[in-house]
């Protein structure tokens, strides 16, 4: 990553629905070739951001550049180079999945036949069913196939795997990594931490219309501590475990956290009590996310937390 070739560049973006401010000065930068995770609770402004990026909503303030173009005025040229999967796919009731894929693909400027066939097969999609007959997961598959069958530079995915079963979730992760290998840039909004953890090179976390944290997973983990669970032969006294944090002792069972840099030290300490079993868990994105929000919530004085996914429509 050179750091000088941004595919998405958002500075100070604001957008209100009536008097409800959905975005309050959002900054977001996604470099070429990145898979960029976009995280946040319901109503934080993820979908609003994405809809501004797609030119479906007009920004109130700030600047937005995508692939060097303006998403509001250069719609057609820009949309030839990107594909989009919404989180809640609504298909035409009388149109088959296959027809919907071809419609969306050719409106984007054509799709790759071999990849289309391959994707339909891998996602085990029956393209002859009609829109109203598909389950939520299958509707989602139609949108994913339609988006990925085109050869585009940028994929914008808004909670694309909601409704997919774990097998299909795995196929999705494979397919996105392949797109990454082809050099595509991906903006992945998601609630599924494992998915983001596996796929994303960088993350941005949004809260109440602003990005509150951004960086690689490693950077974000930062000082978040590793969890240690152990069963010991002899129960130690609490004050002997001063190098550990958040210590819980239940007879011979110990749960505690430790700074990533001091794991070796902790192991030496615990071995002294005779280890029966041991698990060491690096901080998951989930714990990071929860921690961040708990902190924020504790420090947030006003009660303006969350409302609907993108707030109230105007």
């Amino acid at each position: 990553m050179s750091g000088s070739d941004p595919v998405i560049e958002v500075v100070g973006l604001t957008k209100s629905y009536g008097r409800f401010p959905a975005l309050r000065g959002l900054d977001l930068q996604v470099e070429r070739g990145q898979v960029h995770g976009f995280l946040g609770p319901n109503g934080a402004g993820k979908s609003t951001t994405i809809r501004v990026l797609l030119g479906l909503l007009k920004a109130d303030g700030g600047t937005v550049r995508m692939l060097g173009q303006d998403p509001w005025s250069d719609v057609v040229a820009l949309h030839r180079r990107l594909a989009y999967v919404p989180g809640d796919v609504s298909l035409w009731p009388g149109m088959t999945g296959g027809e919907a894929i071809d419609l969306l693909g050719s409106m984007r400027g054509g799709l790759d036949e071999t990849r289309r066939t391959d994707l339909v097969e891998r996602f085990e999609l029956d393209p002859t069913k009609r829109g109203r007959q598909y389950s939520k997961g299958n509707r989602q598959k139609v949108a994913i196939v339609a988006a990925l069958a085109s050869d585009v530079e940028l994929l914008i995915l808004d909670e694309p795997t909601s409704g997919l079963d774990p097998l299909m979730e795995a196929v999705f992760q494979e397919v996105i990594s392949e797109a990454g290998q082809r050099g595509a840039t991906v903006l992945l909004s998601s609630h599924i931490m494992a998915e983001v953890e596996t796929l994303a090179d960088r993350l941005s976390i949004i809260r109440e219309g602003r990005i509150v944290q951004t960086g690689t997973l490693k950077e974000l983990r930062g000082d978040v501590r590793t969890t240690v669970r152990a069963v010991l032969e002899r129960a130690p006294a609490i004050d002997e475990l001063s190098s550990l944090h958040d210590v819980h002792l239940d007879g011979d069972r110990l749960t505690a956290t430790v700074e990533s840099t001091r794991i070796g030290e902790a192991m030496t300490l615990l071995t002294g009590y005779g280890l029966v079993s041991l698990t060491v868990e690096p901080p998951s994105l989930e714990s990071l996310f929860l921690r961040l929000y708990e902190d924020e919530q504790a420090s947030a004085p006003t009660g303006t937390t969350t409302s609907g996914e993108t707030g109230t429509a105007p």
Partner: protein, 545 residues
């Protein structure tokens, strides 16, 4: 409706889980939330009926002016198509019975159809019904709730319309009977909609089938009375039963009992069908479709989305052409049979040719107003697609907003024009076969002259959907205003400047010696204005979510 009472059971008793369990609370909730949606229908029907008795003595104060009205109505069979026969126009009640019976019943039926479909099929489509069905709710409860809503709504409509009309000066018996026909028509179509809700696999199909049935029966009634069809034709058409009650000119109550019987039969059929079908499915189940798509452009998508209605309306316009055309062939007989018309002709006030061409102009205006309906529907489809998030993925591709909108506007204007021309061609062809002094060319030219007015009406919906989609129903204003002013305006004795609000007022009679096209020029300017507002609005606004 008495069955709703069975849903009550003492709180301490174990519920038996009957077929209709849970109807009472569901009905209460539905009435509270959706009851207000019935209000517009009640208001319009009441206005229609009450305004008749209010304006009658004012617009037609003398015996002479009342005879003039009878002559005018008798000399234009196109009016009979909509209003049915005029039995007695010499009293306010008779005038009201003629003016409000058919349309009031039509409104009541439409309100009932939409209430039933909303509470049954539309809920199944949206998934709301699934939530309800998983609760303590009998199998038939949702259908019963929908039907009860419509039955209650129709009853309220009839009662309110009658009471308000009586307060405005209507006679008791005639007015109550008129109100009863509104209610009875609403009830019958509650039954029809309950059946079609079981047949069609989604709300749109179900309501199209019910409204289609209503439309066909409505046109057939008007046609049968206009051409003096044999008496039995009145007894095979449920809408004619209502006409046969003859409020203010006979006051026959018993045909209403036929309507009650029909309602009960239809509801019984609906419950039987409902018990046999699976949740969310129709009686007609679709098979697998093509794995590959051919509709790959914005234009083809627009056509595809409206395919069903486009075909239905093409058939409807052919039928309309046949009905009106057939009427045109018998026009000289109709004039000959009407003593009032004979009087006018004898006085030399007008010539048979003039009457005929006035008739052709009216009939094509009527065709034009009807043909504008599919145009408005196509524009409203843009909005409904938007609200269910199906426009979003399209506009996320390389299709610009302007192009997407333009294809739909083109389809709306094109389809409406085509339907006017198709109906015009059929009318012309039929008229040409009879010796009434009107040829195919005359009627077609008149149809072409009507098209710009149709565009103006459709353009209203283009502007509304483009710029103010939150009030999408306002898209119908053009159709409504044109209809009211073109058909009802003359019976109100309105001034020219008011009548001129309807674009159809500006359509010239092209058979006249020198045809003045400036009116069409003006309304076309208005059309362009509406289109501009629509396009600019659609390009600038946020997409719905």
């Amino acid at each position: 409706m008495s069955t709703t009472a069975t849903a009550h059971h003492p709180a301490h008793a174990q519920p038996r889980g009957g077929h209709l369990t849970g109807t009472a609370p569901l009905l209460r909730t539905s009435l509270r939330h959706d009851g207000r949606l019935l209000a517009p229908w009640i208001a319009i029907a009441t206005l229609l009926s009450a305004s008749s008795v209010l304006v009658y003595p004012w617009v037609f104060p003398t015996q002479q002016s009342r005879e003039g009205l009878a002559a005018a109505v008798g000399s234009n069979p196109a009016l009979g198509l909509i209003f049915g026969p005029a039995y007695d126009l010499s009293t306010a009640d008779g005038f009201n019975a003629w003016r409000a019976l058919a349309l009031g019943g039509f409104l009541s039926a439409l309100g009932a159809i939409f209430a039933v479909i909303r509470a049954t099929r539309a809920q199944e489509d949206s998934g709301q019904a699934e939530l309800l069905a998983s609760g303590v709710l009998g199998r038939g409860s949702r259908l019963l709730t929908g039907a009860a809503m419509a039955l209650i709504g129709s009853l309220v409509l009839g009662v309110v319309a009658a009471l308000v009309t009586v307060l405005c000066g209507g006679g008791w018996e005639a007015t109550l009977l008129l109100g009863a026909t509104f209610t009875a028509t609403g009830w019958m179509f509650t039954g029809v909609a309950a059946v079609t809700a079981q047949l069609g696999a989604d709300a749109r199909t179900a309501s199209s089938m019910a409204v289609g049935t209503l439309g066909v029966l409505f046109v057939l009634r008007g046609f049968a009375y206009s051409v003096d069809a044999p008496g039995w034709t009145s007894w095979v058409n449920p809408l004619s039963w209502m006409t046969e009650t003859r409020p203010a000119s006979g006051n026959t109550w018993w045909p209403l009992s036929l309507a009650v019987v029909l309602t009960l039969v239809l509801l019984a059929v609906a419950f039987t069908l409902q018990a046999r079908r699976d949740f969310g499915q129709g009686t007609i189940t679709p098979g697998p479709g093509p794995a590959r798509g051919k509709d790959t452009t914005a234009w083809r998508l627009a056509v595809r989305l409206n395919r069903g209605p486009l075909v239905t309306w093409a058939l409807a316009s052919l039928m309309l052409g046949v009905v009106f055309g057939y009427l045109a062939t018998s026009i000289t007989d109709i004039f000959g049979a009407d003593p009032a018309v004979q009087q006018i002709l004898a006085a030399g006030a007008t010539s048979p040719d003039e009457l005929t061409s006035a008739f052709v102009v009216t009939i094509l205006s009527l065709v034009g107003i009807i043909a504008a309906v599919p145009g408005v529907q196509i524009m409203l489809k843009v909005r409904s697609e938007e609200t269910v998030d199906r426009v979003e993925p399209i506009l996320a591709t390389a299709v610009s907003r302007t192009r997407y909108y333009a294809r739909h506007v083109l389809l709306a204007l094109g389809a409406s024009s085509l339907y006017v021309l198709v109906a015009g061609a059929v009318i012309g062809w039929l008229a040409g076969t009879a010796d009434i002094g009107v040829g195919v060319g005359d009627v077609l030219r008149q149809a072409v002259a009507t098209v710009p007015a149709v565009w103006t009406v459709v353009a209203v919906s283009v502007a509304v959907v483009g710029a103010r989609p939150a009030v999408a129903l306002v898209a119908w204003v053009g159709v409504l205003v044109s209809f009211l002013l073109t058909l009802l305006g003359p019976t109100f004795g309105l001034d020219d400047w008011v009548l001129g609000i309807s674009p159809f007022w500006h359509v010239p009679d092209v058979s006249a010696a020198d045809v003045d096209l400036t009116g069409l020029g003006w309304i076309s300017l208005v059309t362009v204005g509406f289109l501009l507002v629509g396009f600019v609005g659609f390009r600038r606004r946020d997409l719905a979510r």
